[in-house]
Symmetry: none
Subunit: 243 residues, 4 copies
Amino acid sequence: MAIRRMPVAGMRPESKGRGARMARRQARFTAQDLADDPRLRDHSPELWRPELGEVQRRLLSSAVRCFAANGFHATTTRDIAEGVGLSPAALYVHFPSKELVLYEIIRVGHERVLAHVQDPSIVGSGSSADRLRAIVAAYTVWHARHHVTARVCQMELNGLTAEHYAEIVEVRHRTNAYFRGAVARGVADGTFAQVDVERITRAMLSLSIDLVRWYRLDGADSPEQLGDFYADLALRLVTGPRD
Amino acid sequence: MAIRRMPVAGMRPESKGRGARMARRQARFTAQDLADDPRLRDHSPELWRPELGEVQRRLLSSAVRCFAANGFHATTTRDIAEGVGLSPAALYVHFPSKELVLYEIIRVGHERVLAHVQDPSIVGSGSSADRLRAIVAAYTVWHARHHVTARVCQMELNGLTAEHYAEIVEVRHRTNAYFRGAVARGVADGTFAQVDVERITRAMLSLSIDLVRWYRLDGADSPEQLGDFYADLALRLVTGPRD
Amino acid sequence: MAIRRMPVAGMRPESKGRGARMARRQARFTAQDLADDPRLRDHSPELWRPELGEVQRRLLSSAVRCFAANGFHATTTRDIAEGVGLSPAALYVHFPSKELVLYEIIRVGHERVLAHVQDPSIVGSGSSADRLRAIVAAYTVWHARHHVTARVCQMELNGLTAEHYAEIVEVRHRTNAYFRGAVARGVADGTFAQVDVERITRAMLSLSIDLVRWYRLDGADSPEQLGDFYADLALRLVTGPRD
Amino acid sequence: MAIRRMPVAGMRPESKGRGARMARRQARFTAQDLADDPRLRDHSPELWRPELGEVQRRLLSSAVRCFAANGFHATTTRDIAEGVGLSPAALYVHFPSKELVLYEIIRVGHERVLAHVQDPSIVGSGSSADRLRAIVAAYTVWHARHHVTARVCQMELNGLTAEHYAEIVEVRHRTNAYFRGAVARGVADGTFAQVDVERITRAMLSLSIDLVRWYRLDGADSPEQLGDFYADLALRLVTGPRD
DNA sequence: GATGAATGAGTCTTCATTCAT
DNA sequence: CATGAATGAAGACTCATTCAT
């Protein structure tokens, strides 16, 4: 359950470094390292907006891997471009800046999660308990299935400009409010115990958010299994203290 | 429950920057900004090793604020030094490199948590339930009381060299194993339900780790209150599904 | 009488730039800005060699405006091409390089001035005074009528390659010698005072050359009026000090 | 009287280029080339503000030579720094940006000229004619003595930001108004003919400004000789047409 | 002809780090 | 101890130019 730097432990990136200059440089993973890393498999290719071009979508996927493994600030435009076999300058043919690559990733990520948990075909129209189950499961499944992208969405927010950051925070507020509403409804209609809605909602979100630190598609749990498990836990959390 | 960039929202850091050049730069918070930010209050000064000098400890506290607010890579040695009223070169009188400042913070942080949750006077020698309660509460209290430092410990691991990273991972493994043991004991002795130890332990840790993203000392909950709350939740998680 | 950056003062070019990245960039005027600027009206379209195609001539006119407003080095091939509604690559269909666009402008400009001041129908065959009058007026009129092009001819010489620069210098030498001859003749035949021919010639040329810095077609003087005025001044300069 | 690229004609900068990559690059003069060029001798070292440090003043002198020879945009920060034997990064220890180096040069230059022509010990309190003589001579002497700096002041204005440009324009307006006043006074008191004050003032300024294109300290005229000569011409210009 | 995509070679600027004082 | 000055090594981004379509 360790927090790990995502690429394969034991593989030392500096072993492939760009020469002596790397010596003093922070060890980092190159696009080469990342391309084949099983820990960085996720389903991001299906995420990107279809109106973007092929190269743009591949650049986004490369950037997601780089940002997830090394962080936004430790990722160079060269890293991103090399992940697609292009020169650094090519990035600027498709995106106006490195920050806008990050913004596109984070914005789309946040919009997709929100849409996913609000999807009527998923949420259904059942009881408060069923509804909460569905929401938590959907949220968890999304984060697990797209865990590499989700990691960037959760951990690289400080690479955004102030303006873009504010926009993302707004989406997060809406998502959080949606969760809080689901909990509050169950409390109001007596399905759940008289829990502290704010604190309980926070805890539920924490569970799913934190999985971006450790989840792997090739691990023990499929996204759906983990979703079920966390949905169970969520229900247990809104069950008041046993008497 | 939003994730926030830690310093006060709405305060535009570049307004105090080093001149026009800052305009184009990624918005960042300077030591000045950070010194007075209520969100960055934590109890880090009591953390540092007593054998360190006064200036070293103040540099560590400054670095913690900078790393928490802007991230390791976006923090300059000037940022850290200015937080103590020194020049960048002075940092090197007290630490051999910026990375070693981070390492000192993260290492001490991890050791302190581990020591804290293992502290016999805290854990006691009660039942499996009492023991788990105490451990979760202690872990949570530590993360809340030192949430700024804890944020660095959780989120800036990729600023470490490979060697230092490996050392930290080792400590984390021991901490996680300690938790897992407490859960496993309760399951073994029948105090808890037959839960999936691995998954449940992970969930419990997630709750406390994730609080570094949003906790503030001037918020609604004191560290102890949050510790109690999360200890309650932990117990509820090891209670099997009610039937 | 100020030297001005040619486009309308107060118009902030970056407001129309290529996005946020322009902010940090040296303020420049885009082809859009320049197209409608009354200060950049001149008669360049009639200048270009008729054997050039329509698109080539329009590219030259666009380039003249860009070079005059921003300077050769601060003008991109994109700027030039956009002034004609084409992509940067299209420039290379019509010219082999950006430098050759500049060279074509400057060479044609210099040849045209020389031809103009030597035009027998203008210079006539009158007295030394009439001849000098005519030459100065013609030189001035040309620079005023084509002041945007002339500005490029006078101020962007250092954008040329060494070879092209040398060719242009040669034409300038001939032009200057032609002026010097007209002054010398009047001195020799007693029409003018015993002035220092070299210094006086330089002064006369300075007057007409410097107008490229401030002249506008929509200003107080028409090219012909200014030509008359400077011709008067020239005669006054070759009149020795009155006693 | 040719306009020349300032460094020694015949010396081809690319002969010392940085290798094959220079082939396609615009030929430029390096700091090495410029250091010993007799055409680039001027008196700039005495110009810089005394509160600046030694290194800052030497950087300004180096920058002046580079900007004069190659233009602001074709000058790299490396060029400037190498002229003082420093690395490119050292420039930023002393100036916050390349543009601010230019601004310092141009601002000081403009302030110095204005102060010089307004210096009571130079202008005296004589007749309108004496006064105009003194002003024109002082203006000319300044431009000749500091012709390399003056060239930058006159020809590199478009390297300034919009804000700095506006400040400089304001100083120029004051200088021009001062000249205009001197002419207008002589016209008003009957010392001069009823000349067109605006046009005549412009012509007088043109003479002195244009000398930055061709003047050399090792040429035929000393600054004072040229000042006398242009003062004579100026008086001849304000003498009405002979009857 | 025209252009979208691509890139080699730079350019300004930053920054961790060193060192003489 | 502290620092001002200096720098090697990057890094984001630009741009003239090429080329397949």
